[in-house]
């Protein structure tokens, strides 16, 4: 068994696609219309085009808002992405106007930072020790 797909709920799929590709640097993989407005919209890392897909899932279900708002208030990230250098990525993303709720911080063996994906989620970036 392996992780093939994981998801984040997003308020606006077009806006999310922009943020996850143009800002974070992922690449669109699948974009299939489903239902009236929704799309099956996934992105992948440019380094691993056949790797795990991230589904940008519509946040329409009534339970989503309460769930995500509670996590955001406590600062809990919904997903974690690996980067080579958290500090460099932090500077790059801040330069693009990304808002961080946690600056780069060494947490024992890992360095992490937490950013707002502008679609309703907090996302953690992390550098693992080599």
């Amino acid at each position: 068994m392996k992780i093939h797909l994981t998801s984040v709920f997003v308020e606006d799929q077009a806006k999310a696609l922009h943020f996850y590709t143009e800002i974070l640097g992922f690449v669109k993989k699948h974009d299939v219309p489903v239902g009236e407005r929704d799309r099956w919209l996934t992105v992948v890392s440019p380094d691993e085009p056949d790797g795990t897909e991230l589904l940008l899932e519509p946040a329409g279900h009534p339970a989503v808002k309460a769930y995500r708002d509670a996590l955001v208030e406590d600062g809990i990230p919904l997903a974690q992405f690996a980067v080579d250098d958290v500090r460099a990525e932090y500077e790059r993303l801040r330069g693009l106007g990304v808002h961080f709720t946690q600056e780069p911080l060494e947490m024992g063996p890992v360095t992490t930072a937490v950013l707002d994906d502008t679609c309703g989620n907090l996302i953690q970036i992390a550098t693992q020790p080599r």
């Binding site: 708002d69 406590d74 809990i76 709720t101 947490m107 992490t112 937490v114």
Partner: protein, 104 residues
């Protein structure tokens, strides 16, 4: 108020939380929990950390700030001044006393 202050300071975990907020004021609950767990190896639940923060907040040592959808915890050391004003021996010597003391 003073009782709340001393009660808040009497716990080691709460002092550690204050240490971390002194290092960087303005942290989310998640960041505080992460610091306690990863830096201090304190395996305490989020609920417990929340309760510790509530005690610190009641004592006026921690204040929360909302920024849009986020909630940040800030350190406020003003209540500690009560302690120093209450017991600290006032400086009776003028500033010029320092060089004189160091002279044999």
């Amino acid at each position: 108020m003073a009782d709340d202050l001393f009660k808040a300071l009497a716990d080691r975990t709460r002092r550690t939380i204050l240490d971390e907020l002194a290092e960087k004021s303005g942290q989310t609950l998640f960041e505080i929990c992460s610091r306690l767990s990863m830096k201090h190896r304190l395996g305490i639940s989020r609920q417990a950390v929340s309760q510790h923060l509530a005690v610190l907040e009641a004592a006026g040592l921690v204040e929360t700030r909302r920024e849009g959808r986020y909630k940040f915890h800030e350190l406020n050391t003003a209540p500690l001044r009560q302690i120093t004003e209450r017991w600290l021996v006032p400086d009776t010597m003028p500033d010029t006393s320092a060089p004189e003391e160091s002279t044999p």
